[in-house]
Every structure is written in C-alpha cells, then in structure tokens.
C-alpha cells in the first residue's frame, strides 16, 4: 500500500534513477587492541565498580558455586539454563521470574573497557532473568572477557543472525530523571555482581 509510494518519494527526493546502484559505504571503522588477561580483568573490575557494580574473582568453578550459594541464602532465586552454570555445579530451585529476588545467569561475553555484560537470547539465556529481579548475578569465565565494543562487533558482526535479542548491560539500572539525582534500580536490577571465574 504505502510502501511503493514512500520508497518512490525517497527515490525522487534523492534524485536517484529507479534501480540505481549505490556507492560503497565508508569502510568499517573498528579499532583493535590486545591487552593481557590481567589488564583486561583489572579494567573490567574498575569500570564496573565505578558504576556501583561488584566483581568477585574466583580461582575455580567450585569457589564460584560456593560464592553464589552464600550470596543467595534465604532468597527467592531464578537461574537461567546456561550450560556454564551447570558446569559450575550451580543448581537452583527456580521460582517464577517476576517473584524472584535474585536472577542468576552467565553471559556470552564481557567487555573490559566498559564493564559490560553481553547477553544473547537463546535456549540458554532468557531476556527476563537478567531484568526482572532486583539483583542480578552473572557467573562468567574469564575466557569470555573481550577488550571492548569494537572487539565484540568484530567477533559478532551480525548479531541478529543468531538471536532476536542481544543486550549489552553496563552496570545497574539507573535514572536521573528527577533533579538529576542518581537512583539505581528503576525498572531493572539495582544490584549487579559479576563472578569472574579463572579456568
């Protein structure tokens, strides 16, 4: 209905001929850096802590499991189907996601420069577990810690090929809509803890 008319208006406004081929877009502008694992961990930790997130380093998957267990004692919890959580031996008696105090996930990647978690929706990770509960705990192996956004977009150049939703999470949910006073935990989790596991 409107499609042809709108496209036609755009074409005429631009002075293009029907079926005119286009020039190449400017080359992709992504920069590359490589740092040591230690540097990446230090950067990630500093960036997330600056946003009032928490980072816990664990030497083994077992300590990661024990850390999670102690953090969720007495709480209503929901965990994602991430295979890495199973690998760590984290097994949870799930409540319904809207009722949970804590949501536990892994993450597909983490970005050192900005303290970001990258969550790709699929059979393992859901959209809502990292979103509805007031606290989010993510258990992530250090091997998934990338440098930055450019590094992510180099490895995942077309995110939509594999998922309906890829979300970058950088710190706890926040607002400054009233008098520019910072308040955390508006609609998403106000607390976020990333457990970085060496393995």
């Amino acid at each position: 209905m409107n499609r042809e008319a709108m496209l036609e208006r755009v074409r005429i406004a631009l002075g293009h001929k029907p079926g005119q081929s286009i020039e190449e877009p400017p080359p992709v502008y992504l920069t590359r850096i490589e740092r040591s694992k230690g540097e990446r961990i230090a950067l990630f930790t500093a960036a997330l802590e600056a946003l009032a997130g928490r980072v816990v380093r664990c030497a083994t998957r077992e300590t990661a499991r024990d850390t999670v267990t102690s953090m969720i004692a007495g709480k209503q919890v929901v965990a994602s189907q991430a295979s890495y959580l199973r690998l760590c031996g984290i097994s949870i008696e799930n409540v319904e996601t809207p009722d949970a105090d804590v949501g536990i996930t892994s993450a597909d990647y983490a970005l050192a420069d900005t303290g970001t978690l990258v969550m790709i929706s699929g059979a393992e990770e859901s959209r809502l577990i990292s979103l509805l509960p007031p606290t989010h705990i993510a258990v992530v192996p250090v091997s998934r810690l990338l440098e930055n956004l450019d590094d992510l977009l180099t490895r995942v150049p077309r995110p939509a090929d594999g998922t309906s939703s890829m979300v970058l999470i950088t710190g706890p949910s926040r607002t400054a809509d009233i008098e520019q006073i910072l308040v955390r935990g508006v609609h998403g989790p106000g607390e976020i803890t990333v457990i970085l596991v060496d393995d």
Binding site: N2, P25, A160, S164, L168, T170, P172
Partner: protein, 475 residues
C-alpha cells in the same frame, strides 16, 4: 515577525528564578559530564569518530531508498513485519486495528521522541486504549499532561516537590518527597503494567539495515521490558534512523552515550530483530517495525538541509545552547527544542509557521562544535533565515526590510556616495561618556531600532570614517 514570538511565555520563563536555576544547573551538569567523557585521555579518537559518524550518516541518508529496502528484507527474514506510514494518523490506525484484532487493551511505551512527534498517546487514548509511558521522566510528564522539556531529560524542569504533587494527585499515594522513594513508587506501579500489557512500543535509536534490527539505548530497563515482556512488540521509528551495518554501531554507540550524559555506554543497549525465535526462552510472539515518513522526505529533497536528518537525538546541542539554557524547552513550538528543534521544526512545518525560530540563536556555534555527527547547525540556521525572507518576499510582506537593503545595496555599490555618507555620519555621530553611548538621539529611537537600542549600550563611533583615517595615516 515579532508578532509570532511567544513573548509573554518567554518573559515568564526568564522571570522564574527557580526554573532558570533548574535549567542552568541541569544543562551545566550535562555539559560537564560530556566534557569529561570525550577528552584526549578518555576518548583519543573522538574527532575521528565524529567524522566517521558524519560520513556514515551522509552515505545512509543519500542511499536511503536502498537501505530501507535492505532493512525490510532482513526484518521479514527474521519473522518480523514492516509497516510503512506516511503520517501519525496512519501509525495510530495501524496500532488500533492490530489491538482490535488481538484483543489488546493495555500498551506499555518506552521513551520515544518519534511517538511524541505524532502525539501517539492522545490518539490512542481517544480510542479507549491505555498507553502508559514507562520511562520515569516521561511517566511523570504523562501524569502531568505535559510534553518533554528536553530530548534526553524530559522532566528536567521539575523538582521532587512537583513530582510529589503529581503522584499524590494522580496515583492517590501518600505524599512522598524523597526521590529514591518516588522512584520506587513508579517501579511498583509500572511493574504491574509491564506484566499485564499486551503490546509494548519502543522507538529506535538506530535501524540496522544489514541485520534487520532495531537498536535501543536506555538506562532504566523500561525499553527492555517494553520489548520483552508483552507478547507484541512494535518499534516506531523515522525512516532516517537507518544505518548500513551493525559494525557501524562501534562508531555511534561510542558517541551517543557520551554526548548525551557522559556515559561510555548507556546501561542497556538492546539489539532487537524479529519475534522470539525457535528455541528461545522468552520474547514477544510478534514484531512490527513501523517506518514513519511524516514529512521526512520533504527534508530529504533539499541536498543542503537534508543534513538535519543525521541527528541521533543526543541533546548535546540543547545543553550547550545559550538560548535554550535561557528559554528552556517549552517555548519552542514543537517537541524538538533547542538548536536541532530550530532547524527541523521549520522544515517540517514550513518556515512561515514560526518564522522566529531560525533567529532564536546567536550563531555562536557551540551546537556544531558538540554535535557528534557534525551537523552544521549555524549554517542551516542561516539557510533557513534566508528561506524565511524569501517566503515573505513571495507573500509580499517584509517590504521595509527589502527597501532598506535595496537602499543599502545602492549606496554600497556607489563608492563616492558611500565615502561621503561615511564622512557625514562620523561627523554627525552622537557623543557619549566614557566611550559608551547610553542613549541615542531621538531621531534614531524609532521603530524596531528603538527596541533594540533600549537594551544595549553602543561604543561611541569614531570621529572620522575609516576612509578618512586611511588617507590621513602617516607614511
């Protein structure tokens, strides 16, 4: 022209000391935050990124027909629908008929300037559909029946006490003046809406052609909830939001958060394409992308001014504009305020509707300096001023101005007359005290000039014209 300027409104804004403080403090904080995030140490390739962003936007806009088709193909390939709308009415009609077919009653919305532009909420409410804004600032404004004061900080002009009044009156809750608790009230009320809603509406900061995806950036999580909790997700975006590749986000995301609020990345960046896929745990069953024209193709036709469509709505030009910082957001005639509003509003509505808009600038250039996509706003303002004059000429108004400039042109092109008039003017020029003229002689206090000089002191003119001085200089 002055007849069209909302002078009383402007005076009220400028006489309101607490409002002035609020605007100045808020924009000042945003200026500081931005500055700290784009410096040599934090973002060394900031200027290169701006050039890249400008280049990509130019390419995308100049090949918009191609990228819209590519976008559509990819959205459909991922199971989504694409709806092409000429106007706000068509958007509302689409949503109403979809809601009717699906038996939907409640809609949750995340912040979107595009839906503000087409007054979507009013149109839906008119048909007994409840559409709830879920961004905290927008929610407050919806309860107060106001439009956004600022592109990224919509309730910038309100205090906690205003919010307390609004919540008490509209939600029937006990008066609450602590901001943290006000936020909790909103979270509680809106959480229920999210879980009940049938349809979620979001805007899009970018539409990625090679992926068929909508990219939404935000801090609160309400856009994630709007796009993930209800069973239908509708994205409404202007056609100018298209960028060629997901990899271009490496440029834009680094600029957008920093220019808006000084954040390297906003808390959430969602990359959304199509409904929930096979095997995915959750997500909507339906995904509709509404592509809106609403006058954008008019802007596109002007090769110079189509640059206005590069805007990524960061709000930096508002924060840095001495005019916006004085007159605030509500004195601009449309939802887009500040310098960007001054260049796009006349192009959408026609230059004669609010002819004063392109003049609401000192042309200081601060807006262009901070624009992450390097839109040459001052040049566009000048182009639009010229359009205003041109349009008036067609209408036969602006006779005095025309005659004045014609006379000046004649004098300026006759050197002898110019020189002798210069000498006479120097001789007859009024004398002041301490080098300043506080009051002009009576014959100069007429018409528009009278108003202009009533607010200004002028330096005393030289006793000799420049030409006389030049001839008489030693050696």
């Amino acid at each position: 022209m002055s007849a069209f300027v909302p002078l009383d409104q402007l005076r009220n804004t400028m006489a309101d000391a607490s409002l002035q403080t609020a605007i100045y403090a808020a924009t000042g904080r945003l200026i500081t935050k931005r500055k700290g995030s784009v410096g040599e140490e934090t973002l060394p390739d900031y200027q290169a990124l701006r050039d890249q962003a400008h280049g990509i936007k130019r390419h995308a806009i100049e090949n918009l027909d191609f990228y819209l088709k590519q976008l559509e193909t990819n959205v459909i390939a991922h199971g989504g629908h694409v709806v092409w709308c000429n106007s706000g009415t068509e958007v509302a009609d689409f949503i109403l008929s979809l809601a009717k077919q699906r038996g939907a009653r409640l809609i949750v919305k995340s912040k979107s300037m595009t839906t503000e532009e087409i007054d979507l909420n009013e149109r839906l409410e008119h048909h007994q559909l409840e559409a709830v804004e879920t961004d905290l600032g927008e929610y407050i404004l919806q309860l107060a029946h106001q439009r956004p004061y600022h592109i990224v900080a919509p309730a910038l002009h309100m205090t906690r006490f205003d919010v307390a009044d609004i919540f008490t009156r509209q939600l029937g809750v006990e008066r609450e003046e602590v901001i943290e608790n006000q936020t909790k009230i909103a979270r509680r009320v809106l959480r229920e809406k999210f879980l009940k809603a049938d349809i979620g509406i979001t805007g899009a900061n970018f539409l990625v052609a090679d992926s068929g995806a909508a990219v939404v950036v935000e801090n609160e999580g309400n856009a994630r909830l709007s796009s993930s909790a209800p069973r239908i997700h509708i994205v409404i975006a202007g056609i100018e939001k298209v960028i060629p590749r997901a990899q271009d986000l490496g440029v834009f995301l680094k600029l957008l958060g920093r220019s808006a609020t000084g954040q390297a990345l906003t808390v959430y960046t969602s990359f959304l394409s199509g409904p929930r896929r096979t095997g995915e745990v959750d997500g909507p069953d339906e995904f509709h992308l509404v592509l809106l024209d609403n006058g954008r193709t008019k802007l596109l036709a002007d090769a110079q001014k189509r640059e206005s469509l590069f805007c990524i709505r960061c709000g930096a030009c508002l924060n840095h504009c001495p005019v916006y910082r004085k007159i605030g957001g509500h004195n601009y005639p449309w939802v887009y305020s500040g310098p960007i509003g001054a260049i796009i509003t006349p192009q959408f509505h026609g230059v004669l509707k609010d002819p004063w808009l392109p003049y609401a600038s000192s042309l200081c250039g601060a807006c262009a300096e901070v624009c992450p996509v390097k839109i040459d706003i001052p040049r566009l303002l000048l182009d639009l001023r010229s359009d205003v004059v041109q349009a008036r000429r067609w209408k036969g108004s602006a006779r005095v101005e025309q005659a004045t400039f014609r006379a000046f042109a004649w004098i300026a092109t006759h050197p002898r007359i110019y020189a002798s008039l210069g000498a006479w003017a120097a001789l007859l020029a009024p004398r002041g005290d301490n080098g300043w003229l506080r009051r002009l002689p009576f014959f100069m206090r007429v018409g528009a000039l009278k108003k202009w000089v009533s607010e200004r002191d002028l330096p005393v003119p030289a006793r000799k014209s420049f030409r006389q001085y030049w001839r008489g200089r030693p050696g």
